[in-house]
Symmetry: none
Subunit: 240 residues, 4 copies
Amino acid sequence: MTDEAATPAAAITDVETDDAFRRRPRQSRGQKRVELLLDAAADVIAEHGIDAATAEAIAIRARTAKGSLYQFFPNRDAVLAALALRYADEMRAIHERAFPMDPHGMALERLIDRIVNPLAEFHDRNPAFRRVFATIEGPADDTRSAPVRLRGQLFDSFVDRLDVLFGSRNPKLPARDRRRAALICASVGQSILARRSRAPAADKKPLLDDLKRMLVGFLQPLLNVQQARPRRTATKRVKP
Amino acid sequence: MTDEAATPAAAITDVETDDAFRRRPRQSRGQKRVELLLDAAADVIAEHGIDAATAEAIAIRARTAKGSLYQFFPNRDAVLAALALRYADEMRAIHERAFPMDPHGMALERLIDRIVNPLAEFHDRNPAFRRVFATIEGPADDTRSAPVRLRGQLFDSFVDRLDVLFGSRNPKLPARDRRRAALICASVGQSILARRSRAPAADKKPLLDDLKRMLVGFLQPLLNVQQARPRRTATKRVKP
Amino acid sequence: MTDEAATPAAAITDVETDDAFRRRPRQSRGQKRVELLLDAAADVIAEHGIDAATAEAIAIRARTAKGSLYQFFPNRDAVLAALALRYADEMRAIHERAFPMDPHGMALERLIDRIVNPLAEFHDRNPAFRRVFATIEGPADDTRSAPVRLRGQLFDSFVDRLDVLFGSRNPKLPARDRRRAALICASVGQSILARRSRAPAADKKPLLDDLKRMLVGFLQPLLNVQQARPRRTATKRVKP
Amino acid sequence: MTDEAATPAAAITDVETDDAFRRRPRQSRGQKRVELLLDAAADVIAEHGIDAATAEAIAIRARTAKGSLYQFFPNRDAVLAALALRYADEMRAIHERAFPMDPHGMALERLIDRIVNPLAEFHDRNPAFRRVFATIEGPADDTRSAPVRLRGQLFDSFVDRLDVLFGSRNPKLPARDRRRAALICASVGQSILARRSRAPAADKKPLLDDLKRMLVGFLQPLLNVQQARPRRTATKRVKP
DNA sequence: TATGAATGAGTGTTCATTCAT
DNA sequence: TATGAATGAACACTCATTCAT
């Protein structure tokens, strides 16, 4: 179980670790500057989109000289890649907490709550994330840019997690169906959560409820086959 | 009824009609050239992404001189806008056929089939569409480019259509809930259809079925309330 | 004989023909602009050295916008490569005239005159050539720049020519010695001619004479072994 | 005699003495650091060319911080200038040993051996020297960099030495011819020695022999006039 | 003092748009 | 009118040099 969960988690973090930095900053000043630059990049992306996140725009936003950016990053894409990595790290932490060790004893609704709620909060908190990394666009070109590649890896690792989870919930479910269900849930979740974050405050709660209801409705027939489980003596039926 | 459908349809087409063309070509010669350019733009976008759709790339793909492009379009964005318009036109035709005059007598499943199937086919046929226009990213900046604006308008008009449809299916449904349901369906549909088009052939059918099942499950409680009333006693057909 | 001469001649011209141009200019205007740019590059190099031949400096010198340079050349190095090609073409013409079809009947002094004189004139006329292409620096790095590569190829093809010539003069001369002699003559010639072109006018003639005397002295023992040739009936000893 | 030799020797060393060092390091510690930096610069130049010898590359190669470089040198050119000075010092030592006190009693061949051999060895040992300082390119611009200026001075001082030497060998030789001969010998020597150092091992000895033979042949008529006097009648010496 | 971060002018390159032919 | 050249503003990236720690 731990292993199953560990693999995809690692997949997130190992993304592009190699050349993400031109040189790892050795003075605390540099560490701070790197964070500043990533924050600046996120701000620019959030406000003006990824195409506006030029080296200069990022530098200006970070109140830094353009050259400083290249002290730590080999090129502009590396900044975005590092930003993605930072998101990936936080994502991993969220996943680690969200995906329960033993999901068998948990009602589907609660399970979904546990996963969806922190993701919703994450989307709310990171406009740049939803703007760049919560997109559907797929690979069609060899000149893939780092952010696009990372976006795919982030998504895939989330699908992996769901895949494993669904498998442990219903081992009878054929692998193909399981993976497809995972893909759909990830896709729908990403899509609705991104939209929800931009919705007026009044719609946020209902949108989240609707998403959950949709996922429950979709997953129920796939995962709850073994409804009458023997080890539950007392009633306490989580779901009627 | 016709009106209800016409309004959002018009919304799609009237988008940017004013300056989209520098000079509306009346001769079929020019018309053909425009179509060629739009085809070329779509091809380039499909293969290399929107950033690669430079004026020169489009012209080369269309086997035309760069200058000719500006004979018909005031600027590069106008090309993309025109492409979006062309998609919008086809979309409108699809909607016109898909959204039935009298949806009352139609089972929800059939209704969804009617709308989703042609859209799925449309996504399959237009890789450039899903690559650029089937994205979530929303407006956040004044310097927004035409394609982004149009993408939003396309989406909104689809939501409008669904909104109207849902309203005619269940007039009791509060406007706010209705619109939200429409938004969710549009968002989910777009997301899954775009992904489906890039999926391996074997997955295409199941993905479509899953999407439909998901939508039915989500809409059933919202739209089928009135149907159940007369035959309430016996059957309880809601979910076999 | 014709073949032997043709091979190295071709070697000069085939240098980098492929991507020297981003796009071959199709209007006569463009042709002129290309020539202008090459002239400008040559001027800048002649006056300020190759490091000063920046894209901007060349453009300014050619009274052109910086961007125009990239209309015809894929990058800055390609300009220098094209310049080298132009030199190579002229060189080839010079060689074609200088290297006689049948050198057997010609005194060594005359042979050398025929080769050295036009080269001296060429060096005089092309300061940029001697500044960049008449240098010794050899390969030591993979990131070879086009001009350096071309410089080597130009030199090598000249050595090839001499090699062939020496071989036809004295077939008994071992290939290794022949090639070495060719290398030395080319190297010495290049070195002295470049220096001569920068010398005060009064020194130009004596420097040329000295170079020739040096070459004659060096080559005499290698090439004139078969001194008593039967087909020369009358005395008319060109060189005692 | 000592004076004659001393003047050009001094000329080599006095070059740029003033500002070459920002602060002349008195502690052996600093001295060592300076030597390390110069070694590093030479290495980088030898391996990747002078353009690659950036302040950072040199510092990294010297396992030093970039800032330390500026502790000892006012700017990057000063590093190269100091390197040139170091070469000049070694050169001067070589010259001091090579240029005999009384060359009158020495055969021309031995004289040339004495000068050429250590220079050949020096070229072999110092790839950076031949890469940067053994070039023909002459001054033509005020913005000339220190290395170029120094390269010229090194060469000139060698010419001076030869000039003096030739004068002492044949006082009758007109100053103009003498200086020209010195120039030619220096130029040819530099050119061939640089090439020889990059030649395959098997060619090194023959190339050196050829160079010597060439120089002997060239200088014989100019310097050995007084020796030939007694046997003038018969032989018809090649060029009196 | 030694280290490595900060700075910004400069260079190569792209590309939308205009213009001459 | 169609073609492709001309233009210049923008952007990515480098590197000598200065500065804070």
